[in-house]
Structures are given as structure tokens and as C-alpha cells.
């Protein structure tokens, strides 16, 4: 099956600034595809070029087999778009806004059905400015679904939300995915990308610097695994460093921390070395934050 979205050598230049400098990737049907990067990395510009909202300076984009530059309206009719921090009409109720947006598309979903799916039935005749931050975001996701789209684009859907509302929205995204739709989202939250996305593209300064599943991205690090354990008796530091896969070892307050290239080999060797003296053994894979730091030399939220 051909990719549902294909981006080839996308370039977007504004008078002085190059927002996107030659990015290529493709998105497969039915996956949740994340674009991760700090502010100003070119995530939103890339998304808006795919959505037909901005004309690329160079490169070719195909969505659902259609050339976006040649037929932007054709593409817009089959995708659902949530913009970063956009609003809706202040003086219309949620139902009225969904009816309005529904009228722009040949196929549409009933407003009440959409609101029910987002847990907003009780707000049907409220206005957007009467909603909480989380409700607003859920409503704007509802508005992207009004056309029953094949691809849903979400630009930083959880930015500015409290933890409860974020978790709530993650469930919404997983629900959309479960309906068989392809989801493309941008985020600068690692945990979000790791939890939601099948594949993640990491962008920095207008370039694509990595693209893979979150787990495989983590494995590209020299020591992707962290092994932690409480040890009542101190272990010999040289012996620890000699364990298979271990790159560095650290002991403090009775807690041992090892960084390992291969946890499946390191852990049995460690258990044998400690000879029953281990408590609370814990193995974790590196986060995308670590990946980003290793690849760019700077933090995501700089």
C-alpha cells in the first residue's frame, strides 16, 4: 500500500528565515505519526504545508494520492485539521459551530454525536469561551472530526493543558486511532510522543534529524537502558563496570545506577554478581528526551 502522506524534500522559506530546509518522510495508513521538536523547529510549518494552508517554497507533497499544490481543496475535504491555539466564533454555540463547519464538507457527522464522543453533550449550547482549556481542546478535536476525515492533523493538542486534561486528550487521540484513522500530531512533549505515536520524526532547526519508532530511536543511543537497584551491601565498582553491556556505574545512598547497551545481558550478570543482595530492581529504556539531547546536544525545551 502506498503511503497515505508523502513529503519529498519540503522547503519553506520566508523572506529571511528558512523554516523548513529540505525534509522528506512518509506516513503510513492507520498509524499515529508524531513530529517532535522544540519551538521553532519547523513542525507547524511542515504540518501546514501538508494541510494545504501554506505553499511550499520547494518540494512535493502528496496526500491520499493527491498533489497538495495542485488540488488543495480536494485534500482539505478529506482531512481534519486542528490548528495550534485557534479559536472558533465567539457568539455561536458548540452545536452551531459544528453545524457550520459540517456544511463545508460533502459528508458530515451529527454535532451531538461528536460532542457525546468528546464528553461535551452538556455543553452543546454553551459558547467556546465558556469552556475550560481541556474542553476547548476536545471541542477543537471534535471540529476536526466533523467531516469524518481519513487523516486527522493535531498541532500541539496538549500544550498548556493540566496533567488530567492531557491524559484525557490522549484517550481521545487513541480513540481516533482505534477508528482506523491516520493521525499526524506535533508535540514538544516526549512522554506524549512515546505514549501515542507509532513512529516519531524528530525535527530541529528546520531539519529532520531522526525518524523511527520511539523504542528503536531510544536504542540508537550507546546506552539506552538504565538499570536501577537498591543494594544493602556495596558492590565492587570494577566488577560492575566489567559486567556485560555496562558503560558506566554509579553508587549513592545504597542505590546503584547502571547505564547499559543491552539490559537482557546486563541484568542476569548483575543478579549473579550481587548474589541475592538486590532489592527493587528496575530497568528503563531511554526517553526521547535523551535521544534528542544526544542528537542535538541541547535540550528540547531550550
Amino acid at each position: 500500500m502506498p503511503p497515505i502522506i508523502s513529503v519529498e524534500n519540503l522547503v519553506k522559506r520566508y523572506s529571511q528565515l528558512t523554516a523548513v530546509g529540505g525534509v522528506s518522510f512518509s506516513v503510513e495508513q492507520g498509524e499515529v505519526f508524531g513530529i517532535l521538536g522544540p519551538n521553532g523547529a519547523g513542525k507547524t510549518t511542515t504540518l501546514e504545508c501538508i494541510e494545504g494552508l501554506q505553499a511550499p517554497t520547494g518540494g512535493a507533497i502528496t496526500v491520499l494520492g493527491m498533489d497538495v499544490a495542485a488540488d488543495p481543496r480536494g485534500v482539505k475535504g478529506r482531512i481534519g485539521v486542528q490548528l495550534q491555539a485557534s479559536s472558533y466564533f465567539d457568539y455561536l454555540t458548540l452545536t452551531e459551530i459544528l453545524e457550520l463547519f459540517g456544511s463545508f464538507y460533502p459528508q458530515r457527522t451529527q454535532p451531538m454525536e461528536l460532542l457525546a464522543r468528546m464528553g461535551l453533550e452538556s455543553k452543546a449550547s454553551a459558547r467556546v469561551n465558556q469552556l475550560s482549556g481541556g474542553q476547548k481542546q476536545r471541542f477543537s478535536v471534535a471540529a476536526t472530526l466533523v467531516s469524518d476525515p481519513e487523516i486527522v492533523f493535531l498541532d500541539e493538542p496538549t500544550t498548556g493543558l493540566d496533567p488530567q486534561a492531557r491524559r484525557n486528550l490522549w484517550e481521545v487521540v487513541q480513540g481516533i486511532h482505534a477508528e482506523g484513522r491516520t493521525v499526524v500530531l506535533t508535540t514538544h512533549y516526549m512522554d506524549e510522543a512515546q505514549l501515542l505515536c507509532d513512529r516519531v520524526a524528530i525535527m530541529d532547526q528546520g531539519k529532520l534529524i531522526a525518524l523511527d519508532t520511539p523504542a528503536r530511536l531510544a536504542e540508537t543511543l550507546p546506552a539506552p537502558y538504565t538499570v536501577r537497584a537498591a543494594t544493602p551491601t556495596a558492590l565492587d565498582a570494577n566488577a560492575l563496570l566489567g559486567l556485560e553491556g555496562v558503560l558506566d556505574a554509579e553508587m549513592s545512598d545504597g542505590t546503584l545506577t547502571l547505564h547499559s547497551s543491552d539490559a537482557t545481558r546486563t541484568v542476569p550478570a548483575l543478579i549473579a554478581l550481587a548474589d541475592g543482595g538486590l532489592r527493587e530492581l528496575e530497568v528503563s529504556l531511554a526517553t526521547l528526551e535523551d535521544v534528542f539531547l544526544a542528537m542535538t546536544g541541547h535540550n528540547l525545551r531550550d
Binding site: 494541510e51 494545504g52 494552508l53 481543496r73 480536494g74 482539505k76 475535504g77 485539521v81 490548528l83 491555539a85 485557534s86 479559536s87 472558533y88 466564533f89 465567539d90 457568539y91 455561536l92 452551531e96 453545524e99 457550520l100 463547519f101 456544511s103 463545508f104 464538507y105 467531516s147
Partner: protein
């Protein structure tokens, strides 16, 4: 139907936005009430003093005409100095002096010069001067001196019973539509862009022309409602007279509003924020409101300024509405004004389409 839904959305927004309702209705109505209380209705009658030195058929005819007008109670005086003092003191509004031998001057083909004395601070003076002037013009045109021609003329001016408020009302209608369309559209467009509503619409397959058609049509419809409400209150509460063909008056309202909506779109496109849009809108609308003769005839402006101000779209709209509503004349009696307003409508709409941007 995206257009129908957008039109409904715009009408709902207009009705639910209290600030918009204030600017569109309450703001001009405040002027209608204030000026209506001062100058409207039949309660207020101005005393017109007459010194008739001519004492001939023409002067008798004119006095009879003036007495027939509701706006004046005509009183005869003998002593000119005392009568002038009455006007100066505000006890009487006007003093009209017919010179001796007026009839014979007119029949000899000369120019008789009746004198109208009024207080320069009298706001309605231009109306009265105009009304008396029109009576005299008619006589000058038919300078045969025969009593019969005078009688004929009396019929011609029967309708000219106009108050200052009648003069003001078309100005208030135009002003209300102008301020609302310019400031309202400019701030709404800036707001929609700031809140990314426009961009969100652009992300859908909606056709841009449907979006504009819906906004423009909703506002054009509102301007007709504005015109009916503002003029209606003036007519019902303050007995204002509006003559002329209603369809043609509406046509001028729509044409004028097209200009103001386009100016609103242009300002909305040039402004970065809602505050800037509203400020710039006010900066354009307010001077135009005063300069274009909403409250007083532009004849009192310095001639250079008047020549410029005559070209403003509000001037053309006000003059057209006044010409039609006060004298019951048809639209095609004013080809220059109509051409000016049309030129504004086409020109401003073209500029608006060119400069408008979504993000």
C-alpha cells in the same frame, strides 16, 4: 449549503454581539433622541418677525406662505431696531425685512433684496435661509409680478415645511451605518485573524468567496434594518419627514454601505491587533462623521476644506439621502453624487479584495 450556514452564523453573531448592536443601533439613536428633543416635533415653533415695507402682492403672498408653515409663528413689527434686538436676545428666531417698492423692482426686471436677520449661533439657520431662499428663487424665476403667478408658486413650496431635524435625520442614518460598518468589520476581521478563525476556515474546503459573500450580505441586510430603525424612530417619535422613493433610498444605503464595509475590510487587513483595528477605524470614521455634514451643512467649512470633504463617500451618501428625502426627488436628479458613490464602491471593494489576508 456553506453559504446559507455562514449567513446564518453572521446574522446570529450580529444579533448576539451587544457591542455591535450598540454601535449599529444605540449610537445613532442617541443622536436621534438628543437632536430630536432639541429640534424635532411640532412643539418647537420659531418666531419669525416680518417688517413689510413693500406692502405689495408679492410680500403679502410670501407672508401668507410663511404663515402656512408649521415651523414659524409669523409676527409683524414696525420698528427695525427693536426687532433686531429681539433676534439678538433670542426672543425671536428670525427677522425678515421686505424692502420698499419690491413689486415694482421685480416687474422692472431688477433684483429685490429682502433681508433675513438671524442669530449666527442658530443651528437651524441654514435650513430657514434655504427655505426662504427657495421661495424667493421661485419668484425670481417668474419675475412677471402678476398676482396669479405668485399663487401658483405658493403651491410649489407647500411641501417645504422642513425642520432642522428633518435635515439631520438622513445624516444620522448614514453616520450609524458608516461607523458600524467601518469599525465593526475592521475589528471583527482583526479578531478573526488574531484568533485564527480565518485560518481555521482556510483549512476547510470552504470557498473564500462564500465566506465574504455571507459577511457582506449579512451586513448589507443589517444596514437596511439600521436605516429603518433610525429613520423610523425619527419619524414616529419626533415627527420627522422622510420623502422620496423608499426603494431608491435603500439603494443608496446599500451602495454607501458597500464603501464602508470595504473600508472596514481594508483597515482590518492593515491592523495587527483588534485594538489597532478599532483605533484606526475610529480615526477614519469619526472625522468623516463630522466633516461630511452629518450635523451641519458643509457650506460653513472653509472653501478649500469643503472642496476636499465633498469627495468623501459619507458626503455623497448624506447628500443623496438628503436630496431625495427632503425634496422627494428621484435618484437620477443627482448624477454626480451617484457617480461619486459608485466610484467609491467599486474602488474600495477592489482594494479590499487585494489587501485582504487570512493569517
Amino acid at each position: 449549503m456553506p453559504f446559507v450556514e455562514l449567513f446564518k452564523a453572521n446574522i446570529r453573531t450580529l444579533l448576539r454581539n451587544r457591542q455591535a448592536l450598540f454601535w449599529s443601533m444605540a449610537f445613532p439613536l442617541i443622536f436621534v433622541f438628543v437632536f430630536g428633543l432639541f429640534f424635532g416635533g411640532d412643539v418647537q415653533r420659531t418666531t419669525l418677525l416680518v417688517i413689510d415695507r413693500a406692502d405689495d402682492p408679492i410680500s403679502h403672498g410670501l407672508v401668507a406662505q410663511l404663515e402656512a408653515l408649521d415651523s414659524f409663528s409669523v409676527e409683524t413689527r414696525g420698528d427695525e431696531a427693536a426687532a433686531r434686538q429681539e433676534v439678538r436676545d433670542g426672543d425671536a428666531g428670525y427677522l425678515l425685512i421686505f424692502p420698499e417698492g419690491m413689486s415694482s423692482i421685480v416687474s422692472a426686471g431688477g433684483t429685490a433684496r429682502p433681508v433675513l436677520v438671524y442669530d449666527q449661533g442658530n443651528a437651524s439657520a441654514p435650513i430657514v435661509i434655504g427655505a426662504v431662499g427657495r421661495m424667493l428663487d421661485a419668484i425670481n424665476l417668474q419675475a412677471s409680478g402678476s398676482a396669479q403667478l405668485l399663487a401658483l408658486h405658493a403651491e410649489g413650496v407647500q411641501g417645504q415645511d422642513l425642520s432642522y431635524f428633518d435635515f439631520l435625520l438622513p445624516g444620522f442614518v448614514s453616520m450609524g451605518i458608516m461607523t458600524y460598518s467601518i469599525i465593526g468589520i475592521a475589528s471583527v476581521m482583526a479578531l478573526y485573524r488574531e484568533q485564527k478563525v480565518l485560518k481555521r476556515l482556510l483549512a476547510s474546503p470552504l470557498r473564500v468567496r462564500h465566506f465574504f459573500a455571507a459577511i457582506v450580505l449579512a451586513h448589507l441586510l443589517l444596514s437596511l434594518v439600521q436605516a429603518v430603525v433610525i429613520a423610523g424612530v425619527g419619524m414616529l417619535v419626533f415627527d420627522a419627514q422622510v420623502r422620496g422613493n423608499v426603494a431608491m433610498l435603500f439603494l443608496v444605503v446599500l451602495l454607501g454601505n458597500t464603501v464602508f464595509l470595504s473600508i472596514g475590510f481594508i483597515i482590518g487587513a492593515l491592523s495587527r491587533t483588534v485594538q489597532a483595528a478599532s483605533g484606526l477605524g475610529n480615526a477614519v470614521a469619526m472625522p468623516m462623521m463630522f466633516l461630511s455634514g452629518t450635523f451641519f451643512p458643509r457650506d460653513t467649512l472653509p472653501s478649500v476644506l469643503k472642496a476636499l470633504v465633498d469627495f468623501l463617500p459619507l458626503s455623497a451618501m448624506v447628500d443623496l439621502l438628503r436630496g431625495m428625502a427632503l425634496d422627494a426627488r428621484p435618484l437620477w436628479d443627482f448624477p454626480e453624487l451617484l457617480a461619486l458613490l459608485l466610484a467609491w464602491a467599486v474602488g474600495s471593494a477592489l482594494v479590499a479584495v487585494r489587501v485582504f489576508r487570512f493569517s
